[in-house]
């Protein structure tokens, strides 16, 4: 079972013949998303939220309709809780600067898992450096699994923030965020969930999950680059100061007085990425049309196919979980004596695009004892032929690098 039936939805596959297996970095974009963004600039381009003329009103409506679409996508209570940003990184920085710097002080603690992408790690180090708070890391076992008891122990009365990604961008592991959220709420802290890797693959219901903040990027879920989302609980967002000051985030500005706009516009200074938001809205429609069930069925089947073949390649070591089910489309690996950049260069010569390096998760690789790794990451539009070409190429690498076994 694979994604052949969906290939035609993605114009890039007609032009670019390399096999794209770097989907955790960014997804490809279906035609409906490209057309939606094009259509915004073609038919309704005006600065949203500013003009009173019909074109601007239409642009504003398109932008706010996109916000409503995102609200429905994650089942938030109100569009006031949906802030458009550039990406996950900006969303988390917004929380760090606006919430973190203003609510933490010396000896408070921030609990972060060591598996985090730098974008859910460095903002917290910045908050710790500036406020005197302490960072406490959560460590998984070698399979990438966190012990709930260790989470309970790490999160204490001093914990003000606990941050965790729902799915690891290196290990593909699904993290126990529900447990973390429940635990940090017991001690009165807030939970920040990085959903960058999960939003393209699974339904998120913030009412059930109950995070205080949740961030994801449009470009990883078939939307355009440059549009991202921050969900925040209304009470928290209302109490937070703006992240950036400027146009279209104020109601009144006098010589000596500023009254900020209501949510969500308080956090959206300057001209917004309305075209991107409209594209993201189309991406959500596309996801709903295909359905997560269909996507997951294909992705699980492809992951299993890749995992089983990779398991049998001598000298190959998969990072993280010992079964395909634990990988959610992401399989990072090392090959004895061959540097990941050489692995990816040979794959590239065979027409296969994967990522090699530290995957913006330096501390995790350090913890796992590897300098860098090569990563295969799948999407439902990938095919069995692509997986087979990948595993065949990987299996040939050591010989092509001059090793005889």
């Amino acid at each position: 079972m694979d994604g052949k039936a969906f290939r035609a939805d993605f114009p890039i596959f007609e032009i670019e013949k390399s096999m794209y297996l770097d989907n955790a970095a960014t997804s490809q974009k279906p035609k409906c998303v490209l057309e939606a963004e094009y259509g915004f600039y073609e038919k309704m381009n005006a600065n949203p939220l500013r003009g009173f003329y019909p074109l601007s009103v239409e642009a504003t409506k398109a932008y706010e309709d996109a916000r409503e679409k995102v609200r429905g996508f994650i089942n938030a209570d109100s569009v006031k809780e949906i802030i458009f940003t550039r990406n996950t990184t900006e969303s988390i920085n917004l929380i760090a600067y606006s919430y973190g710097l203003n609510n933490l002080c010396r000896n408070d603690e921030i609990v972060v898992s060591i598996t985090e992408h730098h974008s859910n790690l460095l903002p917290w180090r910045m908050v710790a450096d500036r406020t005197g708070a302490k960072i406490k890391y959560l460590y998984p076992n070698k399979e990438g699994e966190f012990d709930p008891a260790a989470i309970d122990e790490a999160i204490t009365e001093r914990t003000k923030i606990a941050a965790m990604g729902q799915v690891s961008n290196v290990l593909g592991s699904l993290n126990p965020i529900n447990h973390l959220i429940k635990r940090v709420h017991e001690v009165g802290g807030v939970a920040v969930i990085d959903a960058a890797q999960s939003a393209p693959h699974m339904a998120i219901d913030v009412k059930k999950m109950n995070p205080d903040f949740l961030a994801f990027s449009g470009h990883k879920m078939f939307g355009p680059m440059g549009i991202g989302v921050l969900y925040g609980r209304k009470e928290l967002l209302e109490a937070m100061p703006p992240f950036m000051e400027g146009g279209e985030m104020v109601d009144i500005v006098r010589f000596d007085y500023t009254k900020y706009s209501e949510l969500p516009h308080k956090f959206e200074a300057g001209t917004v990425n309305a075209g991107g938001a409209v594209g993201l809205s189309a991406a959500i429609d596309y996801i709903n049309k295909v359905g997560f069930d269909t996507m997951n069925e294909i992705e699980e089947s492809l992951t299993k196919r890749a995992f089983e073949a990779m398991k049998n390649i001598p000298h190959l070591h998969i990072l993280g979980g010992d079964s395909a089910e634990k990988h959610h489309g992401i399989i990072s690996f090392t090959l004895d004596d061959v540097h990941p950049h050489d692995v990816s260069a040979i794959l590239e010569a065979d027409g296969i695009d994967v990522r090699a390096g530290h995957h913006c998760a330096g501390p995790l690789l350090e913890y796992l004892g590897v300098n860098s790794a090569t990563r295969l990451s799948l999407m439902f539009y990938n095919t069995e032929e692509e997986i087979d070409a990948f595993t065949k190429s990987v299996a040939s690498i050591r010989e092509r690098m001059g090793f005889n076994d």
């Binding site: 260069a345 300098n371 010989e399 092509r400």
Partner: protein
């Protein structure tokens, strides 16, 4: 193999069985070269008698391109004058940029096996790491 890659026999051999990847006794110059993006990391060690490089070696780790290139470079510069080594480094770096003449590339002997890296922008830094470190080593001396 069917590969269009630049991993030819000379390169893989110098990577798998490097001749000069070892410490040397009482080096006169020791300099580290790093590619922060890739994590390639080499320590270049040179022993000189007046202007002549009498012995050299390197340690460290990184991708095949960085390691083989450093190994080939050392093989080429041992016994040569500092100026000659720097001249070869200049040619090598221009070769990787696609700017060297054929007869210049011929003078690089085995190092010319890396010429195809010129078509791989992402790997240029790996190929020139050892050579840049050599330039820096003499520049600082």
């Amino acid at each position: 193999m069917e590969s269009r890659s630049f991993y030819n026999e000379i390169l893989t051999e110098h990577n798998v069985s490097p001749y000069h990847k070892h410490d040397i006794e009482n080096p006169d110059i020791v300099l580290e070269g790093v590619n922060p993006n890739c994590g390639d990391d080499i320590w270049l060690k040179l022993k000189c008698d007046d202007d002549i490089i009498v012995d050299a070696g390197f340690t460290g780790d990184g991708c095949a391109v960085s390691q083989a290139s450093a190994d080939i470079m050392i093989g080429l510069i041992i016994g040569k004058k500092k100026e000659e080594a720097l001249r070869l480094a200049d040619i090598f770096i221009r070769m990787i940029k696609g700017e060297a003449r054929e007869e210049e590339i011929d003078s690089l002997e085995e190092a010319s096996a890396l010429r195809d890296v010129a078509h791989m922008p992402a790997r240029v830094k790996c190929a020139v790491l050892g050579w840049h470190t050599l330039e820096e080593a003499f520049g600082n001396n």
